[in-house]
């Protein structure tokens, strides 16, 4: 017979897990205008882990990212981000926490009245970092996304793929501890999508940043699990035949506001659940 665990020990265990993990969702529910979007969902994103969140449109994927940032508050449940409970935090404390998180929005959400340089430097300018330091770090971030020549351009002068890359540069400018990608390849052609996925992979393998990747494109998520970034060749390569599939990249599938799968690529591919088999086929 298992030894009963005292409630205090349970709480202490939960708090310890929350402080170690990058993100912890505990029974989180939220509804908009009477319609339930997320219903009692729980999951953990470990440090250094990349979790792809999959699901059909309207299944609540983007809502999860906004909850992580504290842009919206859940109706029920607790959310821990880098060990801090965000649901009860005030706007000032949230602003401090958000500086440790990078977010790439679905439509890039670049400030259209600012140049690429000022968009990428926005966070640093807010922190009153010296101009020389800003210029150096902006160039470094733009070099990472291979857009060094766009410094003085405005977002309207860039293509959709370039805007998405600038958004990535803006998100990584201060090397955040967590990165949130909201459909970073949505609406892009296959070649540009691959470039974006390569950048996300590069960030994962070079800086080992914890990340949540919301996507409707299953192939993007599988590319993340079956490829690695070759630093010497400066490009993405498939894992060698017979190599262990990267288990730092996991999958979470949402259906009707509930988590119906949370596991590795291997587990997803071998799932016997009818809906999951249909979804991945």
């Amino acid at each position: 017979m298992p030894t009963p665990v005292a409630p205090d020990e349970k709480i202490a265990g939960g708090a310890e897990q929350s402080s170690q993990a990058a993100i912890v969702f505990e029974n989180v529910s939220i509804a908009f205008e009477g319609k339930t979007v997320l219903e009692s969902i729980s999951f953990t994103l470990e440090r250094g882990e990349t979790k792809s969140i999959l699901g059909v449109a309207g299944s609540g994927k983007s809502t999860i990212l906004k909850l992580v940032l504290g842009l919206i508050k859940p109706d029920q449940g607790c959310i821990y981000v880098l060990g801090e409970e965000v649901t009860s935090m005030g706007e000032d404390d949230l602003a401090t926490l958000r500086r440790k998180i990078g977010m790439v929005f679905q439509e890039s959400a670049l400030f259209d009245s600012l140049t690429v340089r000022d968009n990428v430097a926005f966070r640093l300018m807010e922190e009153n970092v010296p101009e020389e330091e800003i210029d150096r770090r902006v160039k470094e971030a733009l070099r990472f996304v291979e857009l060094e020549n766009t410094l003085d351009k405005f977002p309207a002068e860039l293509s959709g793929g370039m805007r998405r890359r600038v958004a990535i540069a803006r998100a990584i400018i201060n090397q955040p501890e967590i990165l949130l990608y909201d459909s970073p390849t949505g609406g892009l052609d296959p070649v540009t999508s691959t470039t974006i996925i390569e950048l996300i992979l590069k960030q994962r393998d070079v800086y080992h940043t914890s990340a949540l990747l919301v996507t409707q494109r299953l192939q993007d998520a599988f590319t993340m699990a079956t490829h690695y970034f070759d630093k010497k060749a400066n490009q993405m390569r498939p894992l060698p035949a017979g190599a262990h599939v990267d288990d730092r990249t996991t999958f979470m599938l949402l259906r009707d506001g509930k988590v119906i799968f949370d596991g590795t690529a291997q587990e997803l591919a071998t799932s016997r659940d009818e809906y999951i088999r249909e979804y991945i086929s």
Binding site: R98, I101, F105
Partner: protein
Amino acid sequence: MEFLSPSDYAKETVLAVQEYSLLAWRAVTNIFRHPRYVADTLQQADVIGVGSVPIVVLTGLFTGAVLALNAARTLQQFGTLALTGQLVSIAMVRQLGPVLTGLMVAGRNASGIASELGSMKVTEQIDAMRALGTDPYKKLVTPRVVASVFMLFFLTIISDLCGLTGGWAVARFQLQLDSHQYWNNAYQSLAFVDVMIGLANPLFFGFIVATVGCYYGMSARGGTQGVGRATTQAVVWASVLILVVNYFVSQLLLWLF
């Protein structure tokens, strides 16, 4: 168009008043909290204040002129044409200067603020700003409110002066009145309470223009159509509130002094 039940309409109205009050409260309290966006405030002062000078000058000039023109007709019947300066002066400084300046600035800037912030809202730029650790109320709302209150005060003074000048032009060149008599009359007739009402009102009007513009911009939704709707509502409500607040502030000041 969607029809709402009376209870839903009441709830929405109460919610809107609550959200507007919260926005106004945060706009004011942020003045005393770090960080302070001085450069953004100066930029907004340029856009809202300096950018509005031409329309305020033209409005003031022609309002003063038409006031002198119409007043002269009546005053002539009583043989008191010399009082034209007094009439233009009191009307411009106490009421027409502040109200017309407020309405012109509302038309130009409440719409500008609502459309700018509305576009940022529907393209997730406001969320992006929050995600980057910046409070949009501090960065976008407070500088606009401070700039609007500060600049509307000076724009009203410019409008009053232009109105008096327009009145003088009509008095001097059409009515053949003596310039010295006109200006002396205009100056001597102004009492402390006239100047007080005339300069206290713009402070409220500036606050209304900026907060109403920001409120409708920050609560815009539904793409470009939503931005257009927010812009229209911002101008309409800012104008209505200016006229309503003008009555109550004038009443209060007349009672006090």
